[in-house]
Amino acid sequence: MGTDHQISKLLALCGNGDGSALEEMFPLVMDELRRMAHAHMRKEGVGHTLQTTALINEAYLKLINQKDQEWQNRTHFFAVASKVMRHILLDYARTRSRDKRGGGAVHVEFNDAANISVERSEEIIALDEALTHLAEIDSLKSQIVEMRHFGGMTVEETAEALAIAPITVMRHWNMAKAWLRREIVSD
């Protein structure tokens, strides 16, 4: 079975709440995003701002079988891509923060724009923890935050992907931010 079939199938399973499908899909999506990121950086250079949705969409179209382009699948794909991004950032932030504690810091001059400061790394880690906590109370809000903040999706795109009204997305987003900020600040 080709990758496209596999992804389509996994997306469908994922839509049915199959956790292992998500797990399986994760590396495939990550690889595709990485490949595209490399291509874009080569083409556009470090300073260029990327069109997030266009990029995820491109990855989606590359990965799935054309016949299976159902909107549910696309939603799931965007959700997965957002999760992948969250994971990548968290992973990187953890490394940075560990460096600071002397776990492995050597002389490293990061000369790329992805250099996240240690403070910022710690913010990312705190946000991730709070978001995990939020998902236990209100998974839709957590999903919306994931898509908007890590997936880089607009309100409209998020609304479309989740098949809800943009105004609903706005309301959830608004309260989620308040809740997360309270959670992080009170820590």
Binding site: A37, K100, A105, V106, V108, N111, M175, W179, R181
Partner: protein, 978 residues
Amino acid sequence: MDITRWQQIEDLYHDALDRPLIERSQFLSDACSGDPELFREVESLLSSLDPDDSFMATPEFDVGLRILAKPDPVLQSGQDFGHYKICDFLGRGGMGEVYLAEDTKLGRHVALKVLPADVASDQERIHRFIQEARAASALNHPNILTIHEIGEADGWRFIASEFVEGQTLRERIKDGEPFELHEAIDLALQITAALNAAHKVHIVHRDIKPENIMLREDGLVKVLDFGLAKLIESPDSQTLTANFASTSPGMVMGTIAYMSPEQTRGKNTEARSDIWSLGVVLHEMLIGRLPFGGDTSSDMIAAILTTEPALPENETWMPDSLRRIIIKALRKNPDERYQAVNEMAEELRGVFSDADTAPSGSFREPTDLKFISRTDPAFVPTGEAIRHSKPEEIRAGWSGYKIGVAFVSILTLVLVGGFAGSAILKNTLWATREPMKITRVFDTGKTTTAAISPDGKYVAHALTDGGQESLWIKHIATNSNVQLVMPEKSSFSTITFSKDGNYIYYVKGEPTSPLYQVPVLGGDSKKILDNVNSHISFSPDGTEFAFIRWLSDDESVLMVADTTGTAERPLISRRHPEVFSNYGVSWSPNGKIIAGSVYTGSNRMNIALIPVDGGETRLLSTQKWLEIEQVAWLPDGSGLLGAALDDVGENLTQIWFFPISGENARLITNDLNQYQGISLTDNADRLLTIGWQKRQNIWRLPKGKSEEAQILSNNIYAEYRYISISTDGRIVFPSNENANGTRDIWIMNVDGTGAKQLTSNAGGNILPCVTSDGRYVLFASNRPDRKTYHIWRMNIDGTNPVQLTNGINGEKGPRCPPDPKTVFYVSSGPNVAVDKGRLWKTSIDGGEAVQLTDYATGGPDISPDGKFIAMRFRFDDSTPLKLGIVPVTGGKPVKVFDVNLNQSLFLRWRPDGQAITFVKTENGVSNFWEQPVNGDPAKPVTKFTAELVLGFDWSRDGDLICARGYEARDPVLISNFK
């Protein structure tokens, strides 16, 4: 949380939000009457709304993509890489990727830097880098990061270095916490110590900046990347812009900010440039910003070149003396700066005495100071507030510092006294196993041999100076150093302490190899015994000693004598090719076995274990060794320690542990020094060895005059023997042996720059000679089978190699006459040295070979008029080699001079053809001599009092170009090696 409750909160939250701000509170209290918890919940959410909406305002997707876009690390965790196992990817920088790896041979962690492919493929840069890195690392300075290995694995060039846990000074600065005054000075002083050690041997760092300074958790500073800056420099020091075009802006700025004016102009970097950079770092630590800022790199360069640093004046917290130090370090004109980094260090130390707060002795242990002040807030000098305080507070801060220092001293005592507070406890937990410590006892480079006393308190050492050697004893704790034996012409071959530590025994390099004894506290030397041809080793009860005596060239005997030199008796004899080495023996702690290094035939060595009661000798292990030097038993008898060179081809002699079980030996040291000799304290907590390396420079002697001698190179760490000067004044030379046992021919400018490799992947290539028309390089090569050397020729740029000779016994030493149609060379007989060879010639295009002499002939050089050949020769192998002149047509010498050339490898006609230049080496010092062709007596033309001449040639301009150098040898103490 209950879903309905959550819904309730959400509804209320939005309802409240929909109302004007002033009505919200009332609305909420009304809506939540009787449910204060609900009120608190919604109220806290509302108040958590970000007023300026900056929370999560920018999606992280872009950043994520950039992280994804980074190239994957070359190596993966868990992967084997040479004899390393990759543990973790640590990061990526301009100089490649850095990994945490485990050295599987030594079972320790190292930082592995894998060089980027473009840098690694540039042979010249690699060549220069290796020279510098090796040299700096060989200093073994505690403030210089130790490089263990520079190698290649799986096609990647890598540098394995000490793995330091801690943070870089850059990270420390970014932390934002202001530096305490004493902390900044402590750091600066440690950096000066590193630079001082390097500058002494003419190594310049070139890139001192906070990223290159590592702060270990215990406060020790490590300066990284000596020589690395050379790697990123463009090969021909082009302009900065060209140089930095390929790097990202942030990085350029970071690099430029610390550059001296002369560096920004692309001029030669020297020690005083490092002083400037250190001044910038000190400024940044104390003032909190760079002295020369700018939004763009050109602004920054302009500031470096034209503006003066704006230092706060009349600020109490900034002592005037410190202000002056920074200003002096940052003088645009290098002549106005500190001329040596230790001058700067001296004044930095003085900052404290100026303020009458000198912690004197304790300040020399800055780690204690810092450690305590950082871990116990009660003792933090209040000077920490220096940067942001009002003047009156600042004054308090400075005097607070005094109090801090006083407390620190007391606290140090308390801690030493055993009241281990939580601070110390934390420290010991962190350092569960002390890392091995290597300390140079001296760094004069003039120690020939040394030994540590059994109690570890003294180091006895022989000092060579001006061709004479003297014996000294140094008390380690007090640094007092006393001469025991006056300087004499003859050398000290070995030094050994008696078991009770009362006497020093030494063997002199005189014809009879006499062993003497001298009391440790001084007194007359007493001769004990003649014909002691090795180190001696005492029996456990100290009443007897064992040594090697050579009866003839073919027979060596293990002897035992009592301490007065009487009652000597042979234990066992070994004959060629399995003779004892003259490195000496070691008597086992139980008194039953004497161990010593022996030859085992086919140029390999091993350790022989000889039972004292006459049992059978056995070899320690089956491992093969190219060299095993003096060995010493560990007191528990578990094995021996000694300097050795294994059979694998790592070409540096290191200290090894040889288990008595016969298992494979284990490396103790693994750095870029060579080690020689060993002595242990009684409890084996420390060992003393000699660490050595070769240092050399290229010199020009205009018209051969030594009084006008100029140094051309900036300390070069290769071996420039057999150099040849090209018609355009460049030096052609063979490299040291490469890792795979081959040697290559290189060409470079006389100042050591512009090195280019002319041969590669073609076996050994040696003895280059540029033809008189400058077109070709003649050389000897053992390509393709690496067995026999033949004469080859290649174009001056290394292209088109052509083999000229192909005799069964091989050919070496090609020379070219003024008319470049002929090649003269020496063809050695089977299995014999060049000195038993004969003189031959052939055409520059090869072909028929013509024999010119039928007696031992070597080192030929053709006269400027092309008519004669000067050479060393002898008719009878038992007589010394003499200097002779033979016509280019061959035959017997037409002139013979009474000059003994046994020690002199090189001959060259003086450009005027009136004399022959040769090198004479006496007592470790080489001088040039001339033998006039008219038969007048030979006379010295230089008056050098130190260093050896390694190679020389006359340039086409009539200047004598030579490589001079010496072996720098220093006693090295190693602790925690077990």
